[in-house]
């Protein structure tokens, strides 16, 4: 492909908007929106599934484009899918805490869904940091969660391969946050710095070396948009997350308290499905896999995929394997 071809293809793809499945906003509060996706297949029955995405990055990665959409894959399996969009925190959100996110916002979303369906409990799918939020919610409100799915979720933050944890160990987070928000752009650069040569050089060389195929370039543009669409982080929640989890590893030690209540993973008795990316550079497999030894549930399943962090959402293999695995696991419960 010539540079001219590439630039023409990139320009043509610049209008591409991420998101392909039809959805409606069923509830909103402040910057938060709760979406429900329209079904595209015969309902499989069972409780609805609420996807809890991370606070870093935007949740549309779950529904990037038709052939790269975890949500579309789930809809095709007849799953009733809800998704939380946390929005973009601004200066007014600087004192929003983890307790606010878990015991206020997430709890309110769950309540809305339960009320709409006249149910006592639903299914939760927590993605990355959203998995931590989901684990905490399930520990605080076990009666409201029927089944819990965690996807590329860090649980033990002190595994040897966890580079972010090592970097965070001696950083004075309180001084860094300083009662403000944390820049999403700064975090982005930090994530790129985990593998700087691959993520800032090779990726673009590969693009130029390949074909000018429209679908390929459009996919590149959508992923690129997502990668650099990083909301600022509410300062208080960020400080708590880094201090309590990355530095003190409280979740794995059963020492985490949210809203004054202890999060004891040993008390989680509900069925758990843990989806692990074996080539995940952000959340090392061991950090996710630790959940097995920490939870009290006897119904624990771990599925390992030879994929990286982002590949778990959008790779062709993930499209083929992850939604059916989730749907089958849910159907059997």
């Amino acid at each position: 492909m010539t540079t001219a071809d590439l630039y023409a293809a990139l320009a043509a793809a610049s209008h591409c908007v991420a998101g392909c499945s039809q959805k409606e906003t069923v509830w909103e509060s402040g910057k938060l929106k709760l979406y429900r996706y329209r079904p595209i297949a015969r309902p499989a029955g069972g409780a609805p599934l609420l996807i809890v995405y991370a606070l870093v990055n935007r949740p549309y990665m779950m529904d990037l484009q038709e052939d790269r959409s975890l949500i579309r894959g789930l809809l095709a399996q007849g799953v009733d899918v809800y998704l939380i969009d946390w929005g973009y925190p601004d200066g007014a959100d600087r004192f929003t805490t983890l307790a606010d996110y878990i015991d206020n916002y997430l709890a309110a979303c769950v309540q809305q869904i339960l009320h709409a369906h006249q149910l006592q409990a639903l299914n939760l799918l927590g993605v990355c940091q959203g998995g931590v939020l989901s684990l905490c919610f399930a520990a605080l409100h076990p009666q409201r969660v029927r089944n819990l799915i965690t996807m590329v979720t860090p649980v033990d933050f002190h595994t040897p391969a966890d580079l972010l944890s090592k970097w965070a160990a001696k950083i004075d987070i309180t001084a860094w946050v300083n009662d403000g928000n944390v820049s999403g752009d700064a975090l982005n650069q930090l994530f790129l710095s985990l593998m700087p040569f691959r993520l800032t050089q090779q990726k673009y060389v590969d693009l130029l070396s390949g074909s000018a195929d429209r679908a390929r370039v459009e996919n590149f543009m959508r992923v690129e948009q997502w990668i650099f669409d990083s909301p600022d982080q509410a300062g208080a929640a960020f400080r708590e997350f880094v201090t309590w989890l990355y530095q003190e590893n409280r979740l794995a030690r059963n020492q985490l308290e949210i809203a004054g209540r202890k999060i004891d993973l040993r008390e989680l008795q509900l069925p758990i499905l843990n989806l692990i990316g074996m080539r995940d550079h952000l959340v090392p497999p061991d950090a996710s896999g630790a959940l097995r030894r920490l939870v009290g549930s006897s119904d624990y399943t771990a599925l390992e995929f030879d994929l990286g962090h982002i590949g778990m959402y959008i790779s062709a293999r993930a499209q083929r394997e992850v939604p059916p695995a989730i749907a089958q696991w849910l159907a059997s419960r």
């Binding site: 001219a4 580079l163 300083n178 710095s193 040569f197």
Partner: protein, 267 residues
């Protein structure tokens, strides 16, 4: 000395050169946008690889020198690579905006004591940033030397078979692999983690002191300070928290028809 790698690089570079020459003017290489820096990097890499292989061809006695020259090139090429220490709000050169070092030597007293102490702390933080930056650059430079040496060793045993675009990409990927391996070893090391933490912590201190100075100026001009706005936000959040914790209000009892009718009659 095996010449195959050089031939591979030459063909690889010609692909890039062709792409470059076909670019329309507005996307030209001097535009400073998009892929121009990457193409430039590949061409420079190619030239350095050629020199390296030519030097190696001079015999085994020249090999060590060739590796050194090639390593130096890679170290120089990536010396200014943007790294996480640019991500924390304060990058290199913080010390340039700091007060002169002489301020730090003067004892603080009198009416301007607080301001002088603040400037001294600012200068101290800027110095710490500068020191940490130097430590990080040294580690980065050492890492590049290791990566370059590993890659040079790889170049001496090229994969057999005909040259293809896949083979060319694999060669480039080889450099990336070597660089990432060396980087991972460095990034996981205690020296790097300590230097990074010191850089971030000093940057936080520097920003804190600068904020305090700005706050001081804001007070003089009767402008709201960050601290005042934060206090208001905290009070607002406290009210929200109390509302959230309060029990749901019970539904008001429906007024009786009679009572309602009576109230209607009131003016």
């Amino acid at each position: 000395m095996e010449r195959e790698p050089w031939r591979q690089w030459q063909q690889f570079a010609s692909l890039w050169a062709a792409a470059s020459s076909e670019s329309p003017g507005r996307f030209g290489r001097d535009g400073g946008v998009g892929f121009a820096p990457l193409m430039d990097a590949v061409e420079r890499f190619t030239a350095a690889a050629r020199t390296f292989l030519d030097n190696c061809a001079g015999g085994s006695s020249h090999e060590a020198e060739a590796v050194r020259v090639f390593s130096d090139f890679l170290r120089e090429r990536f010396a200014d690579f943007q790294m996480p220490w640019g991500a924390f709000g304060v990058g290199a050169g913080a010390a340039r905006g700091a007060p002169p070092p002489s301020v730090g030597d003067l004892p603080a007293f009198g009416a301007s004591r607080e301001q002088q102490q603040r400037w001294q702390r600012l200068a101290s933080a800027a110095q710490r940033i500068d020191d940490a930056q130097r430590r990080l650059q040294r580690l980065w430079s050492d890492m590049l030397r290791d990566a370059a040496a590993a890659f040079a060793a790889r170049l001496m045993s090229p994969p057999p078979g005909p040259v293809s675009s896949e083979a060319l990409q694999a060669l480039y990927a080889g450099w990336i692999d070597c660089a990432e391996d060396a980087y991972a070893r460095m990034a996981h090391g205690e020296a790097f983690c300590n230097a990074l933490a010191e850089f971030v912590n000093a940057s936080s201190q520097w920003r804190l002191e600068l904020q305090a100075s700005t706050g001081h100026m804001a007070k003089l001009l009767d402008l709201p300070t960050r601290s005042e706005i934060n206090t208001l936000l905290q009070r607002l959040k406290s009210i929200e928290d109390r509302l959230h914790a309060a029990p749901e209000p019970t539904a008001p009892t429906r007024p009786s028809r009679k009572r309602s009718a009576r109230s209607k009659t009131k003016p």
